[in-house]
């Protein structure tokens, strides 16, 4: 594949991009268009499948194969494609409503199976396309059009959910941090099987500033806990330590010893550690780990499916239609 040298321009379709000015989706699109040449694949081998939502317009803007499907079902549709066409690189684009409300079931099962999908979950903590209702990641008490007195639902974390669903690769990044976003895409692309990337994405129209703490240069370094494999987990002011019960805690660096700080290991098979990491940030976003939470090896679904078929054929021989039809108890009428 090394002969293929494509550029960002090759992956930019002729469709006019129609997100609101300032929408975080633009920067994610741009990062993706720049990253795609790195895959080393010809354009026809790449497919983007999305659900419904502002974010799900994404495939139209990429010069690859693409399908803008229906609300919440992209992981299911993409699983069918990826399993039957293991030669393709299949990406799913989804939103917090699309992936976690209506499509929650498909998301967890795609991750559980380790379907060969790279799932990009654009989390703006709001329903953008339907003009601003609270989503499963909106903080409790949020005032929106459908919750004028404050939402009552407890939000959940896509990272915790994915880990609970046995996801083999789980990461978080931010729309505005192009470098980190690109590194995360790269790590996901290299992973075999499902990869879930939660991307914090600003919706300037219906949920503006939702991620300001982790974007503003004055607060960012205090809030972000950058996860790097083999490195201690710290922000500018805090470090992550493990208490006597094995739970993780964030403490001011002044109160702890450097040696107490947890060294990040994304490859631990047991998801307990990654889950504990995912619990550090609650919806207040006081301390937010970003990076790869978990990256472990597990046979991808399509590999298992095709190995099984090959094994059956090796054992029973390739199916012969005439033999199938004439199987069982037959009799001859003269």
């Amino acid at each position: 594949m090394s002969e293929v040298t494509l550029t960002k321009k090759d992956f930019t379709s002729d469709q006019e991009v129609r997100w609101c000015p300032g929408c975080g989706d633009y920067s994610i699109l741009s990062a993706m268009q720049s990253f795609l040449p790195e895959l080393g694949l010809p354009r026809e081998k790449i497919v983007f499948i999305s659900g419904i939502g502002c974010s799900s317009r994404f495939p139209y803007y990429l010069e690859t194969y693409g399908m803008h499907s229906i609300h919440g079902r992209a992981p299911a549709i993409a699983t069918g494609l990826a399993v039957s066409r293991p030669d393709l690189s299949v990406w799913v684009i989804t939103g917090d409503g699309d992936a976690l409300s209506i499509g929650g079931n498909h998301l967890i099962h795609a991750l559980r199976r380790n379907a060969d999908l790279k799932i990009l979950l654009f989390n703006n903590r709001i329903y953008g396309l339907t003009k601003g209702q609270y989503s499963p990641t909106s903080e409790q008490g949020k005032i929106t059009k459908s919750s004028p007195y404050g939402s009552l639902d407890t939000p959940f974390s896509p990272i915790s959910l994915a880990l609970g669903a046995e996801a083999s690769f789980v990461a978080r990044t931010v729309d505005s941090d192009r470098k980190h976003l690109t590194e995360t895409l790269r790590a996901a692309a290299e992973h075999k099987g499902s990869a879930l990337i939660e991307i914090y994405q600003n919706c300037p129209i219906f949920n503006d500033g939702a991620f300001d703490q982790i974007k503003d240069s004055d607060t960012r370094d205090e809030v972000l806990l950058r996860l790097e494999h083999g490195q201690p987990i710290t922000s500018a002011s805090h470090g992550v330590i493990s208490d006597e019960r094995g739970l993780l805690e964030v403490k001011p660096l002044s109160e702890i010893d450097q040696s107490q700080i947890v060294i990040h290991d994304a490859h631990i098979q047991d998801p307990t550690y990654a889950f504990a990491l995912s619990r550090i940030s609650d919806s207040s976003l006081e301390h937010v780990p970003v990076g790869v939470f978990r990256d472990v090896e597990r046979a991808p679904f399509s590999q298992l499916v095709h190995e099984q078929i090959d094994a059956v054929i090796a054992k029973e021989g390739k199916g012969q239609l005439a033999a199938l039809l004439n199987g069982g108890d037959t009799w001859q009428v003269e």
Binding site: Q15, K45, V83, H106, I108, G319, V333
Partner: protein, 615 residues
């Protein structure tokens, strides 16, 4: 083994095996059916079992039965009423007496007619002894104790030994009707080969039942039913679900595509998932999805990749799949949706048959969302119609519904096995090069003949493009909200489905002057055909026609309907096709409906027809 008693020749027999769900009646019926098929009789079967896996033992709701109709002539129904009823307990008698005509033979396991079992189903006295069965030929036999006795030499508990009593009954019936024994012996050996003790028990009970018939004075005669004249060829007995599965495999082989089945288990469709799951050596991918939506979604994804996406379900599953099927309509991708209909609405009657999803298949989606709708007429027709569904889906790039139902799915009949060479052709015609004037690829440029759009699968160099559920511009397929374009696209999709080429409706009217037409669709073919034979034998002129294509209808359907004074249409719903025909052709068809979870009897249709014929 050879029968030595006097032999009476019969032209046809209807036998019903009935017992508790745990008594193995379905297996018994299946075995008797296979042995009967091998003898060359024509036959049809009707398994009838409760929705509960183990309904309370000994109760009427827990009764499971299997009816088989076989004869020396063409047989198209499982029979209106049993000539022979085999009952394994009082509940089975209670549940089946209403269907059993006076004079019928009833074989009873009298060991099970204990005070306790009798009172469970409300018998104050024992019907075997109180004279209430005097107008029947009753053989009250100690089936259970004879079975236990025959197995005394094996180290089995009484409970274990009793389990083989269905094989004793099967042996006895096999003796009565001269069924060959080697097939069932081979079957048992294959099934229980790894459990020698159980194999021995079943074989011994089976042979003991046969020997009992041969030696006891209770049965003075045995019966034979000569083979039915059938077209020359190799035959096997096949159920609708198996035939349908084989049809899907055959279509994929002919078309040279990979099958992807996305399904979520549901009665009575699960057996197609089970069957295809066994056939991985054909390269079939079976995907047991997390729900019905994922099943159809994944199938659509596989079709998008150039495979043949199939999803199998029953009515409640279709309800869940509707939105994704609409996406299939919009994307214009091949998709086969198999609906093995059952009683509805909601959970309804999961194990009983109905034809009440026709309007759901036709109209059960948002927007103008046309799909092709087909329906097999008999168990073996499921094979042909599955190929037809795949052919239309692949060649026209459209979702196709295949409406089977619980009756033909589980029922079986002899099938003349077609040669592979005789199967129809399927042309997929994928796009491989740009089709636009300026070297671009236009995914919604259409074949002028079929109106099928150009279909390039991912991996095809130079034809990269995006599709989606949002309305698309003609030719280019890009998003379009233009009113005129939407109007054009809606009409074009309708024209494509409406223009699918389907064979003309064939009329069967030997008199050539019938004024009344008996029309049907789907699984009512058998009872309608049988009723037509009865009516003609009694001097009536009546025509028969059967629809296997429901959308689009055959081109000659309107002319056919208008050429009869009356059109009678039996349906297992409240007149769904009747409504469509009235709307489409302004013909006031006489709807004859029933939703009892059971197929029509021949008699019901004869009577309905007589009401029209005799005015």
């Amino acid at each position: 083994m050879r029968v030595s008693k006097p032999v009476v020749t019969l032209d046809q027999v209807v036998i019903r095996f009935a017992g508790d769900s745990g008594d193995g009646m379905q297996l018994t019926g299946d075995r008797f059916t296979s042995d009967t098929a091998m003898l060359g009789n024509d036959l049809r079967t009707l398994p009838n079992y409760p929705a509960e896996i183990r309904a309370p033992q000994g109760t009427v709701p827990g009764v499971s039965s299997f009816q088989l109709h076989f004869g020396d002539h063409h047989i198209q129904t499982p029979g209106d009423a049993p000539d022979v009823l085999v009952v394994m307990n009082p509940a089975a008698l209670r549940a089946n007496m209403a269907d059993t005509p006076r004079g019928a033979t009833i074989i009873v396991d009298k060991d099970e007619f204990t005070t306790r079992n009798l009172s469970k189903v409300g018998y104050a006295t024992n019907p075997i002894e109180d004279g209430s069965l005097d107008s029947y030929k009753v053989h009250a036999l100690p089936l259970t104790s004879m079975t236990v006795g025959a197995l005394a030499h094996l180290k089995l508990t009484r409970k274990e030994a009793e389990r083989s009593k269905n094989m004793f009954a099967l042996g006895l019936l096999s003796w009565m009707y001269h069924r060959p024994t080697t097939l069932t012996e081979n079957f048992l050996t294959a099934k229980f080969g790894k459990k020698p003790q159980i194999l021995e028990a079943n074989l011994t009970a089976y042979r003991a039942g046969w020997n009992y018939g041969e030696t006891t004075e209770d049965f003075a005669v045995s019966y034979e039913v000569k083979p039915a004249p059938m077209e020359a060829g190799v035959y096997r007995n096949i159920s609708g679900n198996v035939a349908l599965s084989y049809g899907l495999i055959a279509a994929a082989e002919i078309a040279g595509v990979q099958i992807f089945l996305g399904a979520y288990p549901i009665t009575p469709a699960s057996d197609i998932l089970h069957e295809l799951s066994k056939l991985k050596k054909f390269g079939v991918i079976t995907f047991q999805a997390e729900d019905e939506i994922a099943g159809v979604g994944a199938a659509l994804g596989a079709s998008y990749g150039g495979g043949l996406g199939i999803t199998t379900t029953s009515g409640p599953g279709i309800a869940l799949k509707s939105e994704a099927i609409g996406l299939g309509v919009m994307l214009e991708l091949p998709l086969v949706i198999v609906d093995v209909q059952r009683g509805g609405p909601s959970t309804g009657l999961p194990t009983k048959t109905e034809q009440s999803d026709l309007l759901q298949a036709m109209y059960g989606r948002n927007g103008e969302s046309p799909c092709v709708v087909l329906a097999p007429a008999t168990p073996s027709d499921c094979f042909d119609m599955a190929i037809e569904a795949c052919r239309i889906a692949l060649e026209y790039r459209t979702p196709v519904f295949l409406l089977s139902d619980g009756y033909i799915a589980n029922g079986s009949e002899p099938w003349r096995i077609p040669s592979v060479e005789s199967l129809p052709e399927i042309k997929v015609n994928l796009a491989t090069v740009p089709n636009g004037e300026n070297g671009e690829f236009l995914p919604y440029l259409r074949d002028p003949e079929t109106l099928a759009r150009a279909f390039a699968v991912p991996g095809t160099k130079g034809l990269e493009h995006r599709i989606g559920g949002v309305e698309k511009a003609d030719r280019t397929g890009t998003i379009s909200y233009d009113p005129a374009n939407h109007d054009f696209m809606v009409r074009t999709r309708a024209a494509k489905v409406g223009g699918v080429k389907v064979p003309d409706l064939v009329i069967d009217d030997p008199s050539d002057c019938a004024e009344v037409l008996l029309l049907g669709w789907g699984s009512t073919y058998g009872p309608i055909w049988s009723a037509v034979q009865v009516l003609r034998e009694t001097g009536h002129n009546i025509a028969q026609a059967h629809l296997r294509h429901l959308n689009p209808f055959p081109k000659n359907l309107g002319d056919v309907l208008h050429s009869y004074k009356k059109v009678i249409l039996p349906e297992m719903n409240l007149g769904q096709l009747a409504r469509m025909l009235r709307g489409e052709y302004l013909v006031d068809v006489v709807a004859f409906d029933q939703v009892r979870g059971m197929p029509f009897t021949t008699e019901q249709i004869v009577n309905a027809a007589l009401e029209v014929l005799n005015v």
